[in-house]
Assembly symmetry: C2
DNA sequence: GGAAATTTGTACGTATGTATC
DNA sequence: GGATACATACGTACAAATTTC
């Protein structure tokens, strides 16, 4: 960031991309445009700049830009209309608040119209060593594992694997299936309140199951949280690993 | 996540990757191995499995695995030795705590031996509309912008752009240059304590300047935080946008 | 110490994908 | 759309270094 920010050129600002790096130019360009749309750069017109302009900005052939836009169209982010241009179909990046009282439904608030919580699968299993340490159980004690998918306005926004102590929360999977809410499911098991003790955040490339379950394209990024919830007495009640599509989700930590 | 987790095969577990997606197979494989190393999957041997085994796991030609390992060797993560195998050189993922009292140096604690904070550049500028809103200044009021780079054990771990109200914190850039610590620089300007008000976290692909400044390979991920610090009375004192290499850094939020 | 097995390094040929003009 | 250049990926074969027995 020493130079490169005050070149008095009259042409469009060149956007650097790298060649021969294992990532095709069209995919690098698609990723950049996706972020630009998320950041609202093109909100004034509701459209992506013309292919020729983008080609000049990235210093590539127009065909390469077309490949990038085709990929974004495939994701449903833009729609090309002959003679008019490339229209932006959606630019939603949902903000998840993380705090002592992290909750999904009220956290999203009015950022989406329709919220869904789906239980994909649940099972009773013995706790692994690592999981037992998190939940303060004896290794091998039974836990309930729940695989969940959350959607906002029909778009997948998170894919989670949660574990609960089986003895204390018998039937929590059925309660979650019925309500689509962890808070409601806890309440059904007699736990009125719970607190977020700890959250770890990292980011990795989407693996094939992420791509399938969250509807992502290859090379996409997923934000990963590993979270521990406890009852008001500090006894662990839930450990969860959740994967969020980074192009649609960000976090905010309010202290 | 429905099946695929309890196949009693005697062969290595197949790892799915996708073809013809704009991301080269060798890069997908390199990214997966990098994460596996970070997660300590190969700690038992201190080595990556033989090329032939990886080739079978990913169902690719051995040459493709070799390209992936060559990229990781280039990053200094592994080192291949003829006849022995491919040794893991480093598997460092630093955890940054985010809390009301987020500080860099004590936060890293004993996770690294050598910590450096470099001031790349500083300047006095009028505040933009957005920045003025964050810092509760009038648009156009002067701010001090500081471009910083932090290293742990010689490896870049963060690249930040910070803004401070210029009137209140005259000379903070010199104080930071001298001490390499924001806390110390604040203290030099008469501010003994400050609190983290808000942190936004997102993740994007590394752009060319990230790659250069953080020493990343193309397709790599950067975690982006946008943070606001305030004095004990709640008056904003610093707004900062920081970019972290996601393969070396994760966050933990303790409530 | 020596032979066999294991593992990485090198070479050549072929087919397909990517990007330019 | 067609021609060209280069990157990617596969297949095979063998050389070189190290470990194992």
């Amino acid at each position: 960031m020493t130079g490169s920010k005050s070149l008095p050129h009259q042409t469009a600002p060149k956007q650097t991309i790298q060649r021969q790096t294992g990532v095709a130019l069209w995919r690098q360009i698609a990723d950049r445009i996706r972020v630009a749309i998320s950041d609202g750069i093109y909100d004034a017109t509701g459209m992506v700049p013309p292919e020729a302009v983008l080609a000049a900005e990235f210093e590539v052939n127009r065909h390469t830009v077309r490949s990038a836009l085709a990929a974004l169209a495939q994701e449903g982010i833009v729609r090309a209309v002959q003679g008019r241009g490339t229209l932006i179909e959606r630019r939603d990046r949902i903000t998840f608040p993380i705090s002592k009282r992290t909750r999904f439904t009220p956290g999203i608030g009015d950022q989406a119209r329709i919220l869904e919580g789906l239980l994909l699968e649940s099972a009773h299993e013995p706790a692994t060593l690592e999981l037992a340490a998190h939940l303060k159980l004896k290794p091998g004690e039974k836990v309930i594992r729940m695989e969940g998918l959350r959607k906002a306005d029909g778009q997948p926004v998170s894919r989670s694997t949660s574990w609960f102590p089986a003895k204390r929360f018998t039937g929590i999977d059925d309660a979650y299936r019925a309500t689509g809410s962890v808070t409601a499911a806890f309440a059904a098991c007699g736990l009125a309140d719970y607190l977020r003790i700890k959250t770890e955040v990292s980011a990795v490339h989407a693996d094939p199951s992420d791509r399938q379950e969250l509807g992502l394209s290859p090379g996409a990024i997923v934000l990963v949280t590993k979270a521990l919830n406890a009852d008001p007495d500090g006894v662990p009640v839930q450990y969860a690993v959740t994967r969020f599509p980074a192009d649609r989700v960000q976090f905010t930590i309010e202290n």
